[in-house]
Symmetry: C2
Subunit: 316 residues, 2 copies
Protein backbone atom coordinates (compact mmCIF):
# COMPACT_ATOMS: atom_id res chain seq x y z
CA UNK A 1 0.00 0.00 0.00
CA UNK A 2 0.95 3.63 -0.53
CA UNK A 3 0.31 6.79 1.43
CA UNK A 4 0.14 10.46 0.55
CA UNK A 5 1.29 13.10 3.00
CA UNK A 6 0.47 16.72 2.28
CA UNK A 7 2.29 19.56 4.01
CA UNK A 8 -0.02 22.53 3.53
CA UNK A 9 2.03 25.65 4.14
CA UNK A 10 1.41 29.36 3.86
CA UNK A 11 3.66 29.46 0.78
CA UNK A 12 3.56 26.01 -0.81
CA UNK A 13 1.50 22.85 -0.88
CA UNK A 14 4.02 20.00 -0.75
CA UNK A 15 2.78 16.46 -1.30
CA UNK A 16 4.67 13.19 -1.18
CA UNK A 17 3.81 9.60 -2.02
CA UNK A 18 5.37 7.29 0.55
CA UNK A 19 5.69 3.59 1.17
CA UNK A 20 4.99 1.78 4.43
CA UNK A 21 8.47 2.61 5.73
CA UNK A 22 7.80 6.35 5.47
CA UNK A 23 10.14 6.72 2.49
CA UNK A 24 9.12 9.34 -0.07
CA UNK A 25 8.85 7.78 -3.52
CA UNK A 26 7.95 10.99 -5.30
CA UNK A 27 7.00 14.47 -4.27
CA UNK A 28 5.55 17.60 -5.83
CA UNK A 29 5.01 21.16 -4.75
CA UNK A 30 2.74 23.98 -5.94
CA UNK A 31 2.12 27.49 -4.59
CA UNK A 32 -0.63 27.77 -1.97
CA UNK A 33 -1.88 31.27 -2.82
CA UNK A 34 -3.00 31.43 0.77
CA UNK A 35 -5.66 34.10 0.44
CA UNK A 36 -7.96 31.81 -1.56
CA UNK A 37 -11.01 30.08 -0.04
CA UNK A 38 -10.41 26.60 1.32
CA UNK A 39 -12.40 25.03 -1.51
CA UNK A 40 -9.84 26.15 -4.08
CA UNK A 41 -6.86 25.16 -1.94
CA UNK A 42 -8.35 21.71 -1.37
CA UNK A 43 -9.03 21.34 -5.10
CA UNK A 44 -5.30 21.93 -5.71
CA UNK A 45 -4.34 19.46 -2.97
CA UNK A 46 -6.52 16.83 -4.66
CA UNK A 47 -5.08 17.72 -8.05
CA UNK A 48 -1.46 17.34 -6.93
CA UNK A 49 -2.30 14.03 -5.25
CA UNK A 50 -3.89 12.63 -8.40
CA UNK A 51 -0.88 13.78 -10.45
CA UNK A 52 1.47 12.08 -7.99
CA UNK A 53 -0.21 8.70 -8.16
CA UNK A 54 -0.56 8.93 -11.93
CA UNK A 55 3.12 9.80 -12.38
CA UNK A 56 4.21 6.88 -10.21
CA UNK A 57 1.69 4.71 -12.03
CA UNK A 58 -0.20 3.22 -9.13
CA UNK A 59 -3.92 2.56 -8.94
CA UNK A 60 -6.06 4.69 -6.59
CA UNK A 61 -7.00 1.47 -4.80
CA UNK A 62 -3.37 1.10 -3.72
CA UNK A 63 -3.57 4.44 -1.89
CA UNK A 64 -4.45 3.61 1.72
CA UNK A 65 -5.18 7.19 2.80
CA UNK A 66 -4.13 10.82 2.54
CA UNK A 67 -2.79 12.67 5.57
CA UNK A 68 -2.86 16.46 5.62
CA UNK A 69 -0.77 18.65 7.91
CA UNK A 70 -2.20 22.14 8.06
CA UNK A 71 -1.43 25.27 10.04
CA UNK A 72 -4.00 26.03 12.73
CA UNK A 73 -6.23 24.05 15.05
CA UNK A 74 -7.81 20.95 13.54
CA UNK A 75 -10.80 18.95 14.60
CA UNK A 76 -9.09 15.64 13.93
CA UNK A 77 -12.26 13.62 14.46
CA UNK A 78 -14.18 15.54 11.80
CA UNK A 79 -11.26 16.39 9.55
CA UNK A 80 -11.82 20.12 9.66
CA UNK A 81 -9.60 23.10 10.41
CA UNK A 82 -11.41 25.01 13.14
CA UNK A 83 -9.16 28.02 12.92
CA UNK A 84 -6.03 29.05 11.09
CA UNK A 85 -4.73 32.56 11.18
CA UNK A 86 -2.17 31.73 8.52
CA UNK A 87 -4.68 30.52 5.94
CA UNK A 88 -7.86 32.36 6.92
CA UNK A 89 -9.57 29.01 7.53
CA UNK A 90 -12.63 29.01 9.80
CA UNK A 91 -14.30 25.62 10.30
CA UNK A 92 -13.04 24.51 6.92
CA UNK A 93 -14.23 20.91 6.17
CA UNK A 94 -11.00 19.77 4.52
CA UNK A 95 -11.74 16.05 4.68
CA UNK A 96 -15.25 16.37 3.26
CA UNK A 97 -14.08 18.68 0.48
CA UNK A 98 -11.08 16.48 -0.38
CA UNK A 99 -13.26 13.37 -0.64
CA UNK A 100 -15.26 15.05 -3.42
CA UNK A 101 -12.19 14.43 -5.58
CA UNK A 102 -10.58 11.30 -4.14
CA UNK A 103 -12.56 8.70 -2.25
CA UNK A 104 -9.97 7.49 0.25
CA UNK A 105 -9.73 8.03 4.04
CA UNK A 106 -8.45 11.51 4.90
CA UNK A 107 -6.65 12.47 8.11
CA UNK A 108 -6.15 16.09 9.15
CA UNK A 109 -3.65 17.25 11.76
CA UNK A 110 -1.70 20.34 12.71
CA UNK A 111 1.50 20.71 10.64
CA UNK A 112 3.92 21.06 13.58
CA UNK A 113 2.41 17.92 15.12
CA UNK A 114 3.08 16.05 11.85
CA UNK A 115 6.73 17.12 11.93
CA UNK A 116 7.02 15.99 15.56
CA UNK A 117 5.49 12.63 14.70
CA UNK A 118 7.98 12.14 11.85
CA UNK A 119 10.94 12.93 14.13
CA UNK A 120 9.48 10.62 16.75
CA UNK A 121 9.07 7.62 14.45
CA UNK A 122 11.92 8.00 11.93
CA UNK A 123 14.08 10.90 13.13
CA UNK A 124 16.05 12.15 16.09
CA UNK A 125 13.52 11.00 18.69
CA UNK A 126 13.15 7.50 17.26
CA UNK A 127 12.46 4.86 19.87
CA UNK A 128 11.57 7.06 22.84
CA UNK A 129 8.12 7.47 24.36
CA UNK A 130 8.10 11.21 25.00
CA UNK A 131 9.66 13.90 22.81
CA UNK A 132 9.15 17.53 21.91
CA UNK A 133 10.09 18.81 18.45
CA UNK A 134 10.74 22.53 18.05
CA UNK A 135 11.13 24.40 14.77
CA UNK A 136 12.78 27.79 15.02
CA UNK A 137 11.65 29.82 12.01
CA UNK A 138 9.29 32.75 11.47
CA UNK A 139 7.85 31.75 14.83
CA UNK A 140 8.48 28.67 16.96
CA UNK A 141 6.58 25.61 15.82
CA UNK A 142 6.22 22.78 18.31
CA UNK A 143 4.83 19.30 18.53
CA UNK A 144 4.56 17.14 21.64
CA UNK A 145 4.70 13.36 21.42
CA UNK A 146 3.65 11.45 24.54
CA UNK A 147 3.65 7.67 24.65
CA UNK A 148 4.62 7.67 20.96
CA UNK A 149 1.46 9.56 19.96
CA UNK A 150 0.81 13.20 19.12
CA UNK A 151 -0.42 14.99 22.24
CA UNK A 152 -2.68 17.91 21.41
CA UNK A 153 -4.83 18.40 24.49
CA UNK A 154 -8.59 18.04 24.79
CA UNK A 155 -9.25 20.44 21.91
CA UNK A 156 -6.38 19.62 19.49
CA UNK A 157 -4.89 23.06 20.15
CA UNK A 158 -1.99 22.21 22.46
CA UNK A 159 1.78 22.64 22.02
CA UNK A 160 1.80 26.36 21.23
CA UNK A 161 5.14 26.60 22.98
CA UNK A 162 6.08 29.68 21.00
CA UNK A 163 3.28 31.44 22.84
CA UNK A 164 4.43 30.77 26.37
CA UNK A 165 5.63 33.98 27.98
CA UNK A 166 9.26 34.05 29.14
CA UNK A 167 9.42 37.84 29.65
CA UNK A 168 6.25 39.09 31.31
CA UNK A 169 5.32 42.46 29.75
CA UNK A 170 8.09 41.98 27.17
CA UNK A 171 8.05 42.23 23.36
CA UNK A 172 4.64 42.47 21.71
CA UNK A 173 3.64 39.16 20.08
CA UNK A 174 1.28 38.76 17.14
CA UNK A 175 -0.95 36.60 19.37
CA UNK A 176 -1.78 39.59 21.59
CA UNK A 177 0.39 38.65 24.58
CA UNK A 178 3.62 40.35 25.49
CA UNK A 179 6.87 38.46 25.97
CA UNK A 180 6.07 35.20 24.17
CA UNK A 181 9.06 32.91 23.68
CA UNK A 182 8.92 33.26 19.90
CA UNK A 183 9.36 37.03 20.09
CA UNK A 184 12.80 36.27 21.62
CA UNK A 185 13.92 32.93 20.24
CA UNK A 186 12.48 32.50 16.72
CA UNK A 187 14.82 33.00 13.75
CA UNK A 188 12.91 36.20 13.03
CA UNK A 189 13.60 37.42 16.56
CA UNK A 190 17.32 36.74 16.11
CA UNK A 191 17.33 38.83 12.93
CA UNK A 192 15.42 41.67 14.64
CA UNK A 193 17.76 41.59 17.66
CA UNK A 194 20.76 41.75 15.32
CA UNK A 195 19.36 44.67 13.34
CA UNK A 196 18.70 46.56 16.57
CA UNK A 197 22.26 46.01 17.81
CA UNK A 198 23.81 46.95 14.46
CA UNK A 199 21.85 50.17 14.23
CA UNK A 200 23.83 51.23 17.30
CA UNK A 201 27.17 49.71 16.31
CA UNK A 202 28.88 50.09 12.97
CA UNK A 203 31.88 47.90 13.71
CA UNK A 204 30.85 44.37 12.82
CA UNK A 205 31.75 41.78 10.23
CA UNK A 206 28.03 41.32 9.60
CA UNK A 207 28.02 44.61 7.63
CA UNK A 208 30.56 43.13 5.23
CA UNK A 209 28.56 39.91 4.85
CA UNK A 210 25.40 41.80 3.81
CA UNK A 211 27.12 44.62 1.91
CA UNK A 212 25.85 47.12 4.45
CA UNK A 213 22.19 46.21 3.86
CA UNK A 214 20.74 45.20 7.23
CA UNK A 215 17.57 43.89 5.58
CA UNK A 216 19.68 41.08 4.07
CA UNK A 217 20.62 39.65 7.47
CA UNK A 218 19.53 36.09 8.11
CA UNK A 219 20.33 33.56 10.81
CA UNK A 220 23.27 32.16 8.89
CA UNK A 221 24.88 35.60 8.44
CA UNK A 222 24.95 36.15 12.17
CA UNK A 223 26.42 32.73 12.96
CA UNK A 224 28.97 33.13 10.14
CA UNK A 225 30.16 36.39 11.70
CA UNK A 226 30.28 34.77 15.15
CA UNK A 227 32.42 31.94 13.80
CA UNK A 228 34.85 34.64 12.63
CA UNK A 229 34.98 35.84 16.27
CA UNK A 230 33.14 39.05 15.46
CA UNK A 231 32.59 40.51 18.92
CA UNK A 232 29.09 41.84 18.33
CA UNK A 233 27.95 38.67 16.61
CA UNK A 234 29.32 36.57 19.46
CA UNK A 235 27.32 38.64 21.95
CA UNK A 236 24.15 38.45 19.86
CA UNK A 237 24.46 34.68 19.43
CA UNK A 238 25.13 34.22 23.16
CA UNK A 239 22.07 36.26 24.11
CA UNK A 240 19.95 34.45 21.53
CA UNK A 241 21.02 31.00 22.73
CA UNK A 242 20.15 32.22 26.22
CA UNK A 243 16.58 32.90 25.06
CA UNK A 244 16.38 29.52 23.33
CA UNK A 245 17.59 27.84 26.52
CA UNK A 246 15.08 29.71 28.68
CA UNK A 247 12.14 28.20 26.78
CA UNK A 248 13.71 24.76 26.36
CA UNK A 249 14.46 24.62 30.08
CA UNK A 250 10.81 25.51 30.74
CA UNK A 251 9.69 22.65 28.49
CA UNK A 252 12.02 20.22 30.24
CA UNK A 253 11.05 21.29 33.77
CA UNK A 254 7.42 20.88 32.75
CA UNK A 255 7.41 17.74 30.60
CA UNK A 256 10.78 15.97 30.96
CA UNK A 257 10.67 14.48 27.46
CA UNK A 258 13.50 12.04 26.82
CA UNK A 259 14.51 14.05 23.75
CA UNK A 260 14.02 17.64 22.62
CA UNK A 261 14.50 17.95 18.86
CA UNK A 262 15.71 21.31 17.54
CA UNK A 263 14.75 22.06 13.95
CA UNK A 264 14.44 24.93 11.52
CA UNK A 265 17.17 26.59 9.42
CA UNK A 266 19.07 27.56 12.55
CA UNK A 267 19.72 23.91 13.44
CA UNK A 268 22.11 23.74 10.48
CA UNK A 269 24.59 25.52 12.76
CA UNK A 270 24.92 22.10 14.40
CA UNK A 271 27.09 21.76 17.49
CA UNK A 272 28.18 25.41 17.29
CA UNK A 273 24.60 26.16 18.40
CA UNK A 274 23.73 22.98 20.28
CA UNK A 275 26.78 22.71 22.52
CA UNK A 276 26.36 26.07 24.31
CA UNK A 277 22.59 25.55 24.24
CA UNK A 278 22.92 22.26 26.14
CA UNK A 279 25.32 23.87 28.61
CA UNK A 280 22.87 26.65 29.39
CA UNK A 281 19.90 24.28 29.69
CA UNK A 282 21.71 21.74 31.84
CA UNK A 283 22.95 24.53 34.08
CA UNK A 284 19.44 25.97 34.52
CA UNK A 285 17.13 22.99 34.65
CA UNK A 286 15.51 21.82 37.85
CA UNK A 287 16.55 18.20 37.54
CA UNK A 288 19.67 17.42 39.51
CA UNK A 289 22.55 15.22 38.45
CA UNK A 290 21.03 12.20 40.16
CA UNK A 291 18.19 12.12 37.61
CA UNK A 292 18.56 11.15 33.90
CA UNK A 293 18.77 14.20 31.62
CA UNK A 294 16.73 15.10 28.55
CA UNK A 295 18.84 14.94 25.39
CA UNK A 296 18.85 17.89 23.00
CA UNK A 297 19.33 16.82 19.38
CA UNK A 298 19.29 18.32 15.92
CA UNK A 299 16.28 17.49 13.75
CA UNK A 300 16.94 14.79 11.13
CA UNK A 301 13.92 14.91 8.86
CA UNK A 302 14.50 18.36 7.36
CA UNK A 303 11.90 19.84 5.05
CA UNK A 304 10.25 16.46 4.48
CA UNK A 305 9.17 16.08 8.12
CA UNK A 306 5.72 17.54 7.45
CA UNK A 307 5.05 15.26 4.46
CA UNK A 308 6.30 12.12 6.19
CA UNK A 309 4.44 12.87 9.43
CA UNK A 310 1.21 13.54 7.53
CA UNK A 311 1.67 10.28 5.62
CA UNK A 312 1.79 8.42 8.96
CA UNK A 313 -1.35 9.88 10.51
CA UNK A 314 -3.59 6.91 9.74
CA UNK A 315 -1.15 4.40 11.18
CA UNK A 316 -0.92 5.88 14.67
CA UNK B 1 -9.95 -4.48 50.64
CA UNK B 2 -8.39 -1.41 52.23
CA UNK B 3 -5.68 0.97 51.18
CA UNK B 4 -3.28 3.24 53.04
CA UNK B 5 -2.20 6.55 51.56
CA UNK B 6 0.67 8.40 53.17
CA UNK B 7 1.30 12.08 52.50
CA UNK B 8 4.91 12.58 53.53
CA UNK B 9 5.42 16.29 54.04
CA UNK B 10 8.25 18.47 55.27
CA UNK B 11 6.29 19.12 58.48
CA UNK B 12 3.98 16.15 59.02
CA UNK B 13 3.52 12.56 57.99
CA UNK B 14 -0.22 12.17 57.36
CA UNK B 15 -1.62 8.69 56.75
CA UNK B 16 -5.14 7.62 55.93
CA UNK B 17 -6.87 4.27 55.64
CA UNK B 18 -9.27 4.35 52.70
CA UNK B 19 -11.83 2.09 51.12
CA UNK B 20 -12.14 1.26 47.43
CA UNK B 21 -14.10 4.47 46.80
CA UNK B 22 -11.22 6.61 48.02
CA UNK B 23 -13.08 7.54 51.22
CA UNK B 24 -10.87 8.04 54.27
CA UNK B 25 -12.03 5.78 57.11
CA UNK B 26 -9.47 6.99 59.60
CA UNK B 27 -6.40 9.16 59.48
CA UNK B 28 -3.45 10.02 61.69
CA UNK B 29 -0.63 12.51 61.58
CA UNK B 30 2.77 12.74 63.27
CA UNK B 31 5.64 15.22 62.91
CA UNK B 32 8.19 14.40 60.18
CA UNK B 33 11.30 15.86 61.81
CA UNK B 34 12.60 16.26 58.32
CA UNK B 35 16.32 16.36 59.10
CA UNK B 36 16.39 12.69 60.13
CA UNK B 37 17.75 9.93 57.87
CA UNK B 38 15.18 8.20 55.65
CA UNK B 39 15.39 5.03 57.70
CA UNK B 40 13.91 6.75 60.75
CA UNK B 41 11.24 8.53 58.75
CA UNK B 42 10.20 5.27 57.08
CA UNK B 43 10.10 3.53 60.47
CA UNK B 44 7.60 6.17 61.61
CA UNK B 45 5.56 5.78 58.42
CA UNK B 46 5.35 2.05 59.06
CA UNK B 47 4.47 2.65 62.70
CA UNK B 48 1.61 5.03 61.91
CA UNK B 49 0.29 2.59 59.30
CA UNK B 50 0.26 -0.31 61.73
CA UNK B 51 -1.48 1.86 64.34
CA UNK B 52 -4.11 2.85 61.77
CA UNK B 53 -5.02 -0.68 60.81
CA UNK B 54 -5.01 -1.81 64.43
CA UNK B 55 -7.28 1.05 65.50
CA UNK B 56 -9.76 0.30 62.72
CA UNK B 57 -9.42 -3.38 63.58
CA UNK B 58 -8.67 -4.87 60.18
CA UNK B 59 -6.27 -7.68 59.42
CA UNK B 60 -3.02 -6.87 57.57
CA UNK B 61 -4.19 -9.27 54.85
CA UNK B 62 -7.07 -6.91 54.11
CA UNK B 63 -4.58 -4.14 53.28
CA UNK B 64 -4.08 -4.28 49.51
CA UNK B 65 -1.12 -1.89 49.40
CA UNK B 66 0.40 1.30 50.78
CA UNK B 67 0.89 4.33 48.56
CA UNK B 68 3.38 7.00 49.56
CA UNK B 69 3.44 10.54 48.20
CA UNK B 70 6.79 12.16 48.89
CA UNK B 71 8.42 15.44 47.93
CA UNK B 72 11.13 15.08 45.31
CA UNK B 73 11.80 12.89 42.31
CA UNK B 74 10.86 9.23 42.72
CA UNK B 75 11.94 6.18 40.82
CA UNK B 76 8.44 4.73 40.74
CA UNK B 77 9.61 1.41 39.32
CA UNK B 78 12.03 0.80 42.18
CA UNK B 79 10.12 2.65 44.88
CA UNK B 80 12.95 4.99 45.75
CA UNK B 81 13.25 8.74 46.11
CA UNK B 82 16.15 9.70 43.85
CA UNK B 83 16.35 13.24 45.12
CA UNK B 84 14.44 15.49 47.47
CA UNK B 85 15.72 18.86 48.49
CA UNK B 86 12.97 19.16 51.08
CA UNK B 87 13.85 15.97 52.95
CA UNK B 88 17.55 15.51 52.19
CA UNK B 89 16.77 12.19 50.49
CA UNK B 90 19.32 10.83 48.00
CA UNK B 91 18.45 7.49 46.40
CA UNK B 92 16.42 6.55 49.46
CA UNK B 93 14.94 3.03 49.04
CA UNK B 94 11.58 3.82 50.65
CA UNK B 95 9.78 0.74 49.36
CA UNK B 96 12.51 -1.69 50.43
CA UNK B 97 12.81 -0.06 53.86
CA UNK B 98 9.04 0.05 54.39
CA UNK B 99 8.66 -3.63 53.55
CA UNK B 100 10.97 -4.49 56.44
CA UNK B 101 8.02 -3.57 58.67
CA UNK B 102 4.93 -4.39 56.59
CA UNK B 103 4.96 -6.96 53.85
CA UNK B 104 2.46 -5.47 51.40
CA UNK B 105 3.02 -3.88 47.98
CA UNK B 106 4.37 -0.31 48.26
CA UNK B 107 3.97 2.42 45.65
CA UNK B 108 6.02 5.61 45.74
CA UNK B 109 5.12 8.78 43.82
CA UNK B 110 5.73 12.50 44.00
CA UNK B 111 3.33 14.24 46.41
CA UNK B 112 2.03 16.86 43.96
CA UNK B 113 1.32 14.08 41.47
CA UNK B 114 -0.74 12.27 44.13
CA UNK B 115 -2.81 15.41 44.74
CA UNK B 116 -3.38 15.81 40.99
CA UNK B 117 -4.48 12.19 40.72
CA UNK B 118 -6.98 12.64 43.57
CA UNK B 119 -8.46 15.74 41.91
CA UNK B 120 -8.58 13.88 38.62
CA UNK B 121 -10.43 10.84 39.94
CA UNK B 122 -12.62 12.25 42.74
CA UNK B 123 -12.26 16.03 42.64
CA UNK B 124 -12.64 19.02 40.35
CA UNK B 125 -11.19 17.30 37.30
CA UNK B 126 -13.31 14.16 37.65
CA UNK B 127 -14.23 12.56 34.36
CA UNK B 128 -11.83 14.36 32.03
CA UNK B 129 -8.79 12.85 30.34
CA UNK B 130 -6.30 15.70 30.76
CA UNK B 131 -5.97 18.01 33.76
CA UNK B 132 -3.36 20.03 35.58
CA UNK B 133 -3.61 20.59 39.33
CA UNK B 134 -1.75 23.56 40.80
CA UNK B 135 -1.18 24.24 44.50
CA UNK B 136 -0.22 27.79 45.38
CA UNK B 137 1.64 27.68 48.69
CA UNK B 138 5.24 28.12 49.77
CA UNK B 139 6.04 27.39 46.13
CA UNK B 140 3.80 26.19 43.32
CA UNK B 141 3.15 22.46 43.35
CA UNK B 142 1.88 20.91 40.17
CA UNK B 143 0.72 17.58 38.83
CA UNK B 144 -0.14 16.72 35.25
CA UNK B 145 -2.71 14.05 34.42
CA UNK B 146 -2.81 12.87 30.80
CA UNK B 147 -5.23 10.19 29.64
CA UNK B 148 -6.35 9.81 33.28
CA UNK B 149 -2.84 8.85 34.43
CA UNK B 150 -0.10 10.80 36.16
CA UNK B 151 2.31 12.15 33.57
CA UNK B 152 5.82 12.56 34.92
CA UNK B 153 8.09 12.35 31.89
CA UNK B 154 10.74 9.76 31.12
CA UNK B 155 12.48 10.26 34.47
CA UNK B 156 9.52 10.87 36.84
CA UNK B 157 10.68 14.46 37.32
CA UNK B 158 8.16 16.37 35.19
CA UNK B 159 5.55 18.96 36.13
CA UNK B 160 7.84 21.41 37.90
CA UNK B 161 5.62 24.22 36.64
CA UNK B 162 6.69 26.48 39.49
CA UNK B 163 10.14 26.45 37.93
CA UNK B 164 9.19 27.68 34.48
CA UNK B 165 10.51 31.19 33.96
CA UNK B 166 7.94 33.90 33.23
CA UNK B 167 10.29 36.85 33.82
CA UNK B 168 13.67 36.16 32.24
CA UNK B 169 16.39 37.54 34.56
CA UNK B 170 13.70 38.26 37.18
CA UNK B 171 13.51 37.37 40.89
CA UNK B 172 16.09 34.89 42.18
CA UNK B 173 14.55 31.44 42.72
CA UNK B 174 15.78 28.82 45.18
CA UNK B 175 16.31 26.46 42.22
CA UNK B 176 19.08 28.66 40.87
CA UNK B 177 17.16 30.21 37.96
CA UNK B 178 15.89 33.76 37.88
CA UNK B 179 12.25 34.63 37.24
CA UNK B 180 10.58 31.29 37.97
CA UNK B 181 6.79 31.45 38.13
CA UNK B 182 6.72 30.56 41.82
CA UNK B 183 8.84 33.59 42.71
CA UNK B 184 5.90 35.69 41.40
CA UNK B 185 2.75 33.64 41.92
CA UNK B 186 3.21 31.45 45.02
CA UNK B 187 1.44 32.49 48.23
CA UNK B 188 4.87 33.35 49.62
CA UNK B 189 5.50 35.63 46.64
CA UNK B 190 2.19 37.42 47.28
CA UNK B 191 3.20 38.06 50.88
CA UNK B 192 6.63 39.32 49.82
CA UNK B 193 5.14 41.59 47.16
CA UNK B 194 2.73 43.00 49.73
CA UNK B 195 5.45 43.65 52.29
CA UNK B 196 7.50 45.45 49.65
CA UNK B 197 4.58 47.68 48.67
CA UNK B 198 3.65 48.45 52.30
CA UNK B 199 7.19 49.41 53.19
CA UNK B 200 6.71 52.29 50.75
CA UNK B 201 3.08 53.06 51.61
CA UNK B 202 1.70 53.53 55.10
CA UNK B 203 -1.91 54.11 54.10
CA UNK B 204 -3.49 50.66 53.87
CA UNK B 205 -6.13 48.69 55.74
CA UNK B 206 -3.65 45.81 55.83
CA UNK B 207 -1.72 47.60 58.62
CA UNK B 208 -4.86 47.52 60.76
CA UNK B 209 -5.44 43.84 60.05
CA UNK B 210 -1.94 42.88 61.22
CA UNK B 211 -1.65 45.48 63.99
CA UNK B 212 1.20 47.14 62.13
CA UNK B 213 3.32 43.98 62.06
CA UNK B 214 4.13 43.23 58.42
CA UNK B 215 5.51 39.83 59.33
CA UNK B 216 1.96 38.74 60.20
CA UNK B 217 0.67 39.27 56.66
CA UNK B 218 -0.73 36.19 54.95
CA UNK B 219 -2.67 35.63 51.76
CA UNK B 220 -6.01 36.01 53.51
CA UNK B 221 -5.08 39.38 55.06
CA UNK B 222 -4.39 40.83 51.64
CA UNK B 223 -7.61 39.55 50.09
CA UNK B 224 -9.58 40.70 53.17
CA UNK B 225 -8.23 44.22 52.68
CA UNK B 226 -8.99 44.09 48.96
CA UNK B 227 -12.59 43.09 49.69
CA UNK B 228 -12.80 46.26 51.79
CA UNK B 229 -11.76 48.19 48.66
CA UNK B 230 -8.38 49.08 50.13
CA UNK B 231 -6.67 50.72 47.15
CA UNK B 232 -3.21 49.24 47.76
CA UNK B 233 -4.58 45.77 48.41
CA UNK B 234 -6.68 45.95 45.23
CA UNK B 235 -3.56 46.82 43.23
CA UNK B 236 -1.50 44.08 44.87
CA UNK B 237 -4.20 41.46 44.25
CA UNK B 238 -4.63 42.57 40.63
CA UNK B 239 -0.89 42.33 39.97
CA UNK B 240 -0.72 38.97 41.73
CA UNK B 241 -3.61 37.52 39.74
CA UNK B 242 -1.80 38.79 36.66
CA UNK B 243 1.21 36.67 37.58
CA UNK B 244 -0.99 33.65 38.28
CA UNK B 245 -2.65 34.09 34.89
CA UNK B 246 0.68 34.40 33.09
CA UNK B 247 1.73 30.92 34.19
CA UNK B 248 -1.70 29.35 33.80
CA UNK B 249 -1.97 30.74 30.27
CA UNK B 250 1.44 29.23 29.52
CA UNK B 251 0.20 25.84 30.77
CA UNK B 252 -2.93 26.09 28.66
CA UNK B 253 -1.14 27.19 25.49
CA UNK B 254 1.23 24.29 25.96
CA UNK B 255 -1.00 21.44 27.15
CA UNK B 256 -4.65 22.44 26.67
CA UNK B 257 -5.89 20.36 29.60
CA UNK B 258 -9.67 20.25 29.82
CA UNK B 259 -9.47 21.49 33.40
CA UNK B 260 -6.90 23.44 35.42
CA UNK B 261 -7.46 22.93 39.16
CA UNK B 262 -6.36 25.74 41.47
CA UNK B 263 -5.52 24.68 45.02
CA UNK B 264 -3.70 25.86 48.12
CA UNK B 265 -4.92 28.21 50.83
CA UNK B 266 -5.41 31.00 48.32
CA UNK B 267 -8.16 29.06 46.53
CA UNK B 268 -10.38 29.66 49.56
CA UNK B 269 -10.88 33.15 48.11
CA UNK B 270 -13.16 31.40 45.65
CA UNK B 271 -14.71 33.38 42.82
CA UNK B 272 -13.20 36.62 44.14
CA UNK B 273 -9.91 35.16 42.92
CA UNK B 274 -11.08 32.85 40.15
CA UNK B 275 -13.34 35.24 38.23
CA UNK B 276 -10.67 37.85 37.42
CA UNK B 277 -8.15 35.03 36.95
CA UNK B 278 -10.33 33.42 34.26
CA UNK B 279 -10.86 36.81 32.60
CA UNK B 280 -7.12 37.42 32.37
CA UNK B 281 -6.36 33.91 31.13
CA UNK B 282 -9.15 33.85 28.54
CA UNK B 283 -8.06 37.25 27.30
CA UNK B 284 -4.44 36.16 26.91
CA UNK B 285 -4.60 32.57 25.73
CA UNK B 286 -3.79 31.57 22.18
CA UNK B 287 -6.93 29.56 21.59
CA UNK B 288 -9.58 31.53 19.78
CA UNK B 289 -13.29 31.56 20.50
CA UNK B 290 -13.91 28.88 17.89
CA UNK B 291 -12.07 26.29 20.01
CA UNK B 292 -13.36 24.80 23.32
CA UNK B 293 -11.79 26.51 26.35
CA UNK B 294 -9.98 25.00 29.34
CA UNK B 295 -12.01 25.36 32.53
CA UNK B 296 -10.37 26.83 35.63
CA UNK B 297 -11.80 25.36 38.84
CA UNK B 298 -11.17 25.47 42.57
CA UNK B 299 -9.63 22.33 44.10
CA UNK B 300 -12.13 20.10 45.92
CA UNK B 301 -10.01 17.62 47.81
CA UNK B 302 -8.39 20.02 50.27
CA UNK B 303 -5.69 18.75 52.61
CA UNK B 304 -6.68 15.12 52.04
CA UNK B 305 -5.72 15.18 48.35
CA UNK B 306 -2.24 13.81 49.04
CA UNK B 307 -3.50 10.92 51.17
CA UNK B 308 -6.29 9.97 48.78
CA UNK B 309 -4.07 10.21 45.71
CA UNK B 310 -1.40 8.07 47.35
CA UNK B 311 -4.03 5.50 48.31
CA UNK B 312 -4.98 5.20 44.63
CA UNK B 313 -1.48 4.66 43.22
CA UNK B 314 -1.76 0.89 42.90
CA UNK B 315 -5.07 1.07 41.08
CA UNK B 316 -3.94 3.25 38.18
Amino acid sequence: MYYVGIDLGGTNIAAGLTNKKGEIIRKKSIPTHRDRPYTEIVKDMAGITIKLINEVGIDQKELKYIGIGSPGTPNVQEGTIIYSNNLNFRNAPIKYEMQKYINVPIYVENDANCAALAESVYGSAKGVDHSVTLTFGTGIGAGIVINKRIYSGFNNAASELGHTVIVSEGCQCSCGRKGCWETYASANALIRQTQEVLEQNLDSWIYTLVNGDLSKINGKTIFDAARKDDRLALNIVDTYIGYMSEGITNVINMLQPEIVVVGGGICNEGEYLLKPLREKVYQAMYTKDEVPKTQIKKAQMGNDAGIIGAAMLGEM
